[in-house]
């Protein structure tokens, strides 16, 4: 008898029993039409949404196939309303078809004239649609993304049948010495599919330290076209260039850096979000957006896509004809714009639970510790009478954290340690106390790179960093992170910081968070831990015992 590990709930969530022998096979079947919501150690939660269904249908899956997969794995009878939802939503796909018209316009055709009336009634769409006939509209090419995003929000999925452009060709060969990991190959396969309509754009979610860059490089090699890569900071730009030169046959002449320091446009150009969204004043356009249009790109990679700034959303909406890839470990945006990422960059094509990769040894095993320490008596009253925001800061900058950090560093002597904090004064206090080098937003890029290099080589064992090191920094040997303060309850920041120590190495990693007890910081800490708890990470709670040891 087949083992049935899936519970399909009436609210379209699905619970997967990961201890079941067939959980892997089941996961492989359902991930194509659902999103992973959380993956703690025993039961993983997936959700079927309108968007996830339409994405599945657009990549060739039928409603019957989806229902058959659910029937195959579901432990209990499936609520008829779920069946109706799947059938109904899949039937809707194809009601609105977008095709080529001429050089300037695309054609949106609706299945029945009544749909055309519906579209005309929507104020959000009126400016984008020019009636062509009773059942079709002309759409400016540049409005393709915006139209699709707005229609999806209104519940009208667009079947976009315009093939993606090829871009100018570029031979990107992988070096023979380099072997990608199975999940990296799977992720790229999920992104590119068979090359038919509805594939070739999307988001890949992989844990920090698991080699997202490699997945991007693999996709590049398969598409073999000119590629623009956008990163959150210059250090990440340098890392991409280093990896490209290391893993592919591309030469320095073919890979350019477009940053505040250098403006090299090459067949593969790596730039920062910041440089691309620069403008002389707040009323001006973004002059560097021309970079997107003029490079002959066939592929755009958005690294750390969860950090995509709002103006880039806008330009991305114009670039729907180009292959696109979003890379992230934590598609948790505190501004709730995950849906826009999915509709403009592309749907989530691949997502794997962190615990799976940890179990397979592809990311380091990490132990999370929450260290509680008291607020000094002289701060108790000022804390009690402070305003909410100030309260958090007083607790976060608790001076006793210096002693606690010192004890942790002593306990991990010889290991590569990061001290990560939010407040510059606090970080400075740590620097003064310990004398370790510090990297903040004001540290020049060259100095940052030097310090990161020294850290990587082991010359510097402890590095104090501000939030500039929250993400996209590859420090393979770091095995201990001490988080002394953070951005309130940011789940994404917490996960990214843990990510700094997840590169696999010959020892386990330890992630310490210092928290002032009986203060607001406790609440924020718990909220911060939510994402990681949902990935199966368990925080031990320890009381800092001062110098008692």
């Amino acid at each position: 008898m087949i083992d049935k590990p899936l519970t399909v709930q009436s609210d379209r969530t699905m619970l997967l029993d990961v201890h079941s022998p067939s959980s892997d096979a089941c996961r492989a079947d359902i991930i194509a039409f659902s999103d992973l919501v959380k993956s703690p150690e025993h039961v993983h939660t997936y959700r079927i949404s309108q968007l996830s269904l339409w994405n599945a249908i657009s990549s060739g899956l039928s409603a019957d196939e989806i229902l058959s997969r659910l029937g195959k794995w579901s432990r209990y009878e499936i609520d008829p309303r779920i069946e109706f939802f799947i059938t109904d939503q899949s039937e809707r796909y194809g009601d609105f078809i977008l095709t080529e018209l001429d050089d300037e316009y695309l054609l949106l055709t609706v299945r029945r004239p009544v749909f055309a009336l519906q579209l005309k009634a929507e104020t959000a769409l009126r400016e984008l649609l020019i009636p062509e006939s009773a059942s079709s509209f002309r759409v400016l090419r540049m409005n393709r993304g915006v139209l699709k995003a707005r229609m999806i929000k209104l519940g009208f999925p667009v079947d976009d049948r315009i093939p993606l452009k090829k871009g100018l060709p570029l031979d990107i060969r992988l070096k023979d010495s380099f072997t990608p990991r199975p999940y990296q190959k799977d992720a790229v396969k999920a992104l590119l599919g068979d090359g038919s309509e509805g594939t070739g754009y999307g988001t890949i979610v992989l844990p920090c330290g698991s080699g997202k860059t490699i997945a991007g490089i693999l996709a590049m090699s398969q598409l073999s076209t000119r590629t623009l890569i956008l990163c959150p900071n210059v250090t990440a730009v340098h890392q991409w260039i280093r990896e490209l030169l290391d893993k592919t046959e591309l030469t320095e002449n073919e890979v350019g850096e477009y940053s505040g320091e250098r403006k090299d446009m090459k067949p593969v150009t790596v730039c920062t979000y910041q440089i691309i969204t620069w403008r002389p004043d707040t009323d001006s356009d973004y002059p560097r957006f021309s970079l997107f249009r003029d490079g002959g790109w066939g592929f755009i990679i958005y690294d750390e896509v969860h950090m995509l700034p709002a103006p880039v959303f806008r330009i991305t909406a114009e670039l729907q004809a180009i292959h696109r890839l979003g890379l992230t470990a934590t598609l948790v945006r505190e501004d709730g714009r995950e849906d826009e990422v999915f509709s403009l960059v592309g749907p989530k094509r691949y997502d794997t639970p962190w615990s799976e990769l940890e179990a397979q040894g592809f990311i380091a095993k990490a132990w999370c510790h929450e260290i509680r320490l008291p607020l000094p008596e002289d701060l108790e009253v000022s804390y009690a009478i402070a305003k909410k925001r100030e309260k958090y800061r007083i607790a976060a900058e608790n001076p006793l954290k210096i002693g606690a950090a010192e004890r942790i560093i002593r306990a991990h002597e010889g290991e590569s340690i990061l001290i990560i904090g939010q407040y510059l004064e606090q970080l400075e206090a740590f620097r003064e106390k310990f004398g370790y080098p510090i990297i903040t937003g004001s540290t020049p890029t060259r100095r940052r790179d030097e310090l990161y290099a020294m850290f990587r080589s082991g010359e510097v064992k402890v590095l104090i960093v501000s939030k500039v090191a929250n993400s996209a920094i590859d420090l393979p040997d770091a095995s201990v992170a001490i988080q002394i303060s953070g951005t309130f309850g940011s789940r994404q920041e917490e996960a990214q910081r843990l990510g700094r120590i997840l590169r696999p190495k010959n020892r386990d990693s330890h992630f310490y968070t210092l928290v002032s007890e009986y203060t607001e910081e406790e609440e924020f800490a718990q909220n911060r831990q939510k994402f990681l708890s949902e990935q199966g990470y368990s925080y031990t709670i320890e009381k800092d015992c001062g110098d008692a040891e």
Partner: protein, 553 residues
């Protein structure tokens, strides 16, 4: 003597009892009655049913130790006809509905006088994705009203709170009885309603227009006719396009329970009995999900649950080791809970001399919460009677009544919720019906004799190709022989087959009345007029018993 004709007992060779075939002769009414007897703690009350004797005759019921018991064959019968109606897709009953409502009550988030508003919030209704919003609200309102009536929930004028002991007695009952109490059943009525609920949940794929007929049948078996409205309100049955189907019950125990590192608690089946005291509801569906939060643990601590107790309950529940961080986290919450506490107290003022005496009195010590200065004592409000008596005994007989406004005390209605031996969900529900009922109906339609019809109804003939066994018949003209045959059958507990001249037949246990008159299946018959007579085994169904007939308790 030598001329005396031998009575025709040849049926013994020709009508061999086969359990498998007898099972095929059961119908859903038989199975419903067997289910009711199995569930009921008062099985003897079913003895008066005609159908009960037929089931006893056929070995599906056994009478022993002064009560009726469903035999192993009978339980197979229940499995053969797990449902009333036809096999239709059945959704799972949301087992966690009542625990979720209890949790909301325990959290003290329902304001007195306007708690209905909280229930109509999107948050509340989203807890029950498989229940239509309106029904979830109505069911919750009726549940809370019943809880207040039963003293499980207490309305103190500010908010609705929970009485832990009453809630525990309530949750110790079966789900059917809990619903019965909410509907309004007490005492013996509670059991009847519970039984009716258990049977109603086995309705499957019936047309709404036939609902009355089925509910009447259930009413005759259980002694209480459930209302369709109640059944729908409490999600016991669903309607889909005019078709009614009872919701399937899960396991009576929590299954596959897991407590994860994000402190979510998931399981399928019935809820652990007091999870509503310490966890906050997330979702009640095929699988139930709760979450342990700071707020839910505050509720737990307020109700006297200690960190060890809470962790112990979770440990006992979970199929896996608890996340490492769970115990420390609960302990830290507990420390926070204890760090500042509010307690009702009374101020007792004395002059210096008397204050010294009060301070020294050992009988008062346990009632003094603290002192404010040398002569002012904070006294325990809840033990006022005791310390007043102690003071009086110590000579303070001039102590007047307590001044100032009195604390409003919740009116605890102490209604005893009697425990029960109702068996709840112990019946098999999901079996494949191994043969076609339609097939039997076709056989019956093609029958050419009353005997064949009776034998088809009783499972002796199950195939069109099977010939009707030639049971020895006594010619009705031989009056004496016929009466001897009837007397012998009555004596041996066998059944009699009497066929009239017009070809109609009647079968049943005979009881001689007077002269040629006998009672057969409760009908008075003149045996002298019978055209043919034969003895049949008790396992042949009485002819008065038609498949859809039901019996009263």
């Amino acid at each position: 003597m030598q001329n005396e004709r031998v009575l025709p007992f040849g049926f013994r060779e020709k009508l061999q009892y086969s359990e498998e075939k007898a099972l095929q002769a059961l119908d859903d009414s038989d199975a419903a009655l067997l289910s009711a007897i199995h569930l009921s703690s008062d099985s003897l009350s079913f003895l008066s049913c005609e159908r009960t004797s037929s089931l006893l005759d056929r070995g599906f019921l056994i009478k022993e130790d002064g009560r009726l018991r469903v035999s192993a064959a009978g339980m197979k019968g229940v499995s053969t006809f797990p449902l009333l109606g036809k096999k239709a897709r059945r959704r799972l009953y949301p087992e966690a509905f009542i625990p979720f409502v209890l949790s909301v009550v325990a959290s003290r988030n329902l304001q007195s006088g306007r708690w209905q508003r909280n229930l109509s919030s999107d948050f509340f209704t989203s807890l029950f994705p498989s229940i239509e919003k309106g029904k979830a609200i109505t069911a919750a309102e009726r549940t809370i009203e019943a809880m207040i009536r039963l003293g499980i929930a207490i309305d103190d004028g500010e908010c609705i709170s929970i009485s832990r002991p009453a809630a525990q007695s309530f949750m110790a009952l079966s789900e059917e009885e809990r619903i019965a109490m909410i509907i309004g059943g007490e005492g013996a009525e509670r059991k009847k309603i519970a039984l009716a609920i258990a049977l109603s949940q086995r309705l499957s794929g019936i047309e709404k227009e036939n609902a009355d007929e089925y509910l009447d049948r259930i009413g005759r078996i259980a002694g209480y006719r459930p209302s369709l409205e109640d059944l729908e309100t409490f999600s016991l049955i669903d309607e889909d396009n005019g078709i009614l189907t009872g919701r399937k019950r899960g396991s009576s125990m929590p299954l596959d329970a897991a407590v994860s590192s994000d402190f979510s608690i998931t399981y399928s089946g019935a809820s652990p009995e007091d999870i509503y005291l310490y966890a906050t509801p997330v979702r009640a569906d095929s699988t139930t999900e709760w979450k342990l939060t700071k707020a839910s643990m505050k509720t737990a601590f307020s109700l006297g649950i200690t960190p060890d107790e809470a962790a112990g309950k979770l440990e006992a529940l979970s199929s896996f080791p608890l996340p490492e961080s769970l115990r420390p986290r609960i302990s830290l919450w507990y420390r926070s809970f204890l760090s500042v506490r509010a307690q009702r107290a009374l101020i007792l003022q004395a002059d210096e001399r008397n204050a010294r005496i009060i301070d020294a009195l050992p009988t008062l010590r346990m009632h003094i919460i603290g002192k404010i200065g040398e002569t002012i004592f904070l006294m325990d409000d809840s033990t006022e009677g005791l310390w007043r008596r102690a003071l009086e005994n110590a000579g303070f007989d001039m102590l007047g009544p307590t001044e100032g406004p009195a604390f409003e005390k919740a009116q605890e209605r102490r209604i005893q919720i009697a425990p029960s031996d109702f068996r709840g969900i112990t019946l098999p529900e999901e079996r494949e019906i191994p043969f076609s009922v339609q097939g039997r109906n076709e056989l019956l339609a093609a029958s050419d004799s009353p005997l064949r019809t009776a034998l088809i109804n009783s499972g002796f003939i199950t195939d069109r190709e099977e010939e009707t066994p030639s049971v020895d018949m006594v010619n009705g003209l031989y009056y004496q022989e016929k009466m001897r045959l009837i007397a012998a059958a009555e004596h041996d507990g066998q059944k009699i087959y009497l066929e009239s001249l017009d070809g109609s037949a009647i079968i049943g246990h005979p009881r001689h009345l007077e002269e040629s008159f006998i009672s057969l299946s409760g009908i008075r018959i003149d045996a002298a007029k019978a055209w043919k007579a034969a003895i049949l085994p008790p396992s042949v169904k009485d002819s008065a018993l038609r498949p859809s007939d039901s019996d009263s308790q």
